[in-house]
């Protein structure tokens, strides 16, 4: 019997990355204290939340204490290789598989001195058709704000781990929302950078042409800190510049075929917009060159076809080892004609070109991520709608940087969110909007109890 959480606390002992770094610099805490607190939270909660699939306590304890993120425990979705750890991707197809090398993104983070605490829950191969999956080797992760609800997928463990302080940040991967949805569902911040900035190599592919890794953190500032440490960027400084003069294009309408956002999401969106306006952002109404629903159609065709290509041999030889969601996606993908696939890729090119022109008049787009609140686990069509009825695919198709952050909480205590997108290479603008909003509101003080 699982008891829903439905509670929260305002004086959480869980530090942000920024807070932990400051506390260590001041000598008020030690790296080993932060790590022990994370391990304690894993021991206490993972049996219910199922966020960590492979714990590497010894490896985390053995990490050197030097570097920009020394003492900041993190986790990574179990579809990236970490030397000496399993890489199962929650699939029976990969039972017993161990990685012999670190994926490049793991190597980058090892250079920062951050202790890797383990590998985090995912849907099978980071793929799915929308519903939560109960037929995989591991049970579904559960949302710490309400354990009867969905965590967002496919990086199902990443948001849970960060929201509960099992880790202070996490790395997931996102094809059409798999970093952004978990961030939205758990009240975290999820970030996609310009494609190619963070390496996907050493990660198991889901959809070759759209997969991107990305960090999930508690705050946008934390995401900037992590990215700065990995990449040598100055996003934290750039993001601290405020929203004054920022040209914000507001896109509310997802287009035909998709519902309008649920009322509480919409109300928080408008309230957040007022905050940005008061901070000096220049707000204008806008429409994307193609609607989110058309982008979603193209992404579904591309995703199904590319996934089927990736897993064709396994589908032929061992389909019974797959979960139903992956198998259905592949079976659908086998039915995509080459002409249809190219039609989607032609739209993608046209959309990307049109977005380049769009940015002449705008710095960032503000829109919804998903159009729903986190659904009840296993309840259809709630679960599928949560992942399929979204405004996430325009950024996926055009390779745009994107960021999802918490904009408040519903009456029932569920996280609300919005999405900020920007032009390739203009992540600083995205962080300006996100960090200005974050600094002007107090939503980051609330954690799941």
């Amino acid at each position: 019997m699982i008891t829903p959480v439905h509670t929260y606390c305002m004086q959480s002992a869980i530090p942000t990355v920024a807070g932990a770094l400051t506390a260590m610099a001041e000598g008020s805490t030690r790296p080993e204290d932060i790590l022990e607190a994370c391990l304690t939270r894993i021991a206490a909660q993972n049996g219910t939340l199922h966020a960590v699939h492979h714990l590497d306590e010894a490896g985390a304890r053995a990490t050197r204490d030097t570097g920009a993120l020394a003492g900041i425990p993190w986790g990574i979705k179990d579809n990236f290789d970490v030397a000496g750890l399993p890489c199962i991707a929650n699939s029976r197809l990969r039972a017993g598989r161990m990685a012999t090398q670190d994926a490049p993104i793991v190597s980058m983070l090892r250079q920062t001195g951050a202790p890797l605490i383990g590998k985090l829950a995912t849907w099978e191969y980071g793929t799915g058709t929308g519903a939560e999956h109960f037929d995989l080797p591991n049970p579904p992760a559960r949302n710490p704000w309400d354990t009867e609800r969905f965590t967002g997928g496919s990086s199902t463990g990443a948001g849970v781990a960060v929201a509960t302080g099992m880790t202070l940040f996490a790395i997931g991967s996102d094809t059409t929302g798999s970093v952004r949805l978990p961030a939205a569902a758990t009240g975290c911040c999820g970030v996609l950078m310009t494609p190619g900035v963070l390496p996907m190599e050493g990660g198991l592919p889901n959809t070759y042409s759209m997969d991107r890794p990305g960090p999930i953190t508690w705050t946008a500032e934390d995401a900037a800190i992590v990215l700065d440490a990995m990449l040598g960027t100055q996003l934290r400084a750039a993001g601290s510049a405020g929203a004054t003069g920022l040209r914000v294009a507001v896109v509310r309408d997802p287009g035909p075929g998709l519902p309008t956002a649920q009322a509480e999401l919409a109300a928080a969106f408008e309230a957040g917009l007022s905050v940005l306006s008061r901070l000096g952002a220049r707000i204008t109404e806008a429409k994307l060159p193609w609607t989110a629903s058309t982008c979603l159609d193209a992404a579904r065709v591309i995703g199904a076809a590319e996934s089927a290509s990736i897993h064709e041999e396994e589908l032929r030889k061992t389909p019974e080892l797959m979960g139903a969601a992956l198998r259905d996606k592949l079976l659908a993908g086998m039915g995509v004609s080459a002409v249809d696939y190219l039609a989607a890729q032609r739209l993608r090119r046209a959309f990307s070109d049109a977005m380049e022109r769009f940015w002449d008049a705008h710095d960032v787009v503000l829109c919804f991520g998903t159009l729903h609140l986190p659904p009840r686990l296993g309840v259809e069509p709630e679960s599928s709608n949560y992942t399929m009825e979204t405004m996430l695919t325009p950024a996926s198709l055009a390779g745009l940087p994107a960021l999802v952050q918490c904009t408040g909480f519903s009456e029932a205590g569920l996280p609300l969110h919005w999405q900020i997108m920007t032009r390739q290479g203009n992540e600083a603008a995205m962080f300006r909007a996100a960090m200005a909003f974050e600094g002007a509101t107090d939503w980051r003080s609330r954690r799941p109890a």
């Binding site: 290789d81 990685a99 012999t100 090398q101 994926a103 490049p104 991967s173 094809t175 494609p195 190619g196 996907m200 190599e201 050493g202 990660g203 198991l204 592919p205 889901n206 959809t207 070759y208 042409s209 759209m210 997969d211 991107r212 058309t294 159609d297 193209a298 579904r300 065709v301 591309i302 199904a304 590319e306 589908l315 032929r316 389909p319 198998r327 259905d328 079976l331 659908a332 993908g333 086998m334 039915g335 995509v336 004609s337 249809d340 190219l342 039609a343 989607a344 890729q345 032609r346 739209l347 993608r348 090119r349 046209a350 990307s352 198709l397 055009a398 390779g399 390739q424």
Partner: protein
Amino acid sequence: MIPPQYAARAAELAKGITAIAARLPRDWPKEHPPANPACEATTGSAKTGEQKYG
């Protein structure tokens, strides 16, 4: 090749994805090229292979 035991399910799913594809705009100029996932800047994991680096 689709395993025979899943042929009926595949046919059902193919109808769905074909209907989705049918909604995509097709009226592009002839010279309008598709995005090329093998070499575009939009590539995500296109260079990815299990345990292959660099």
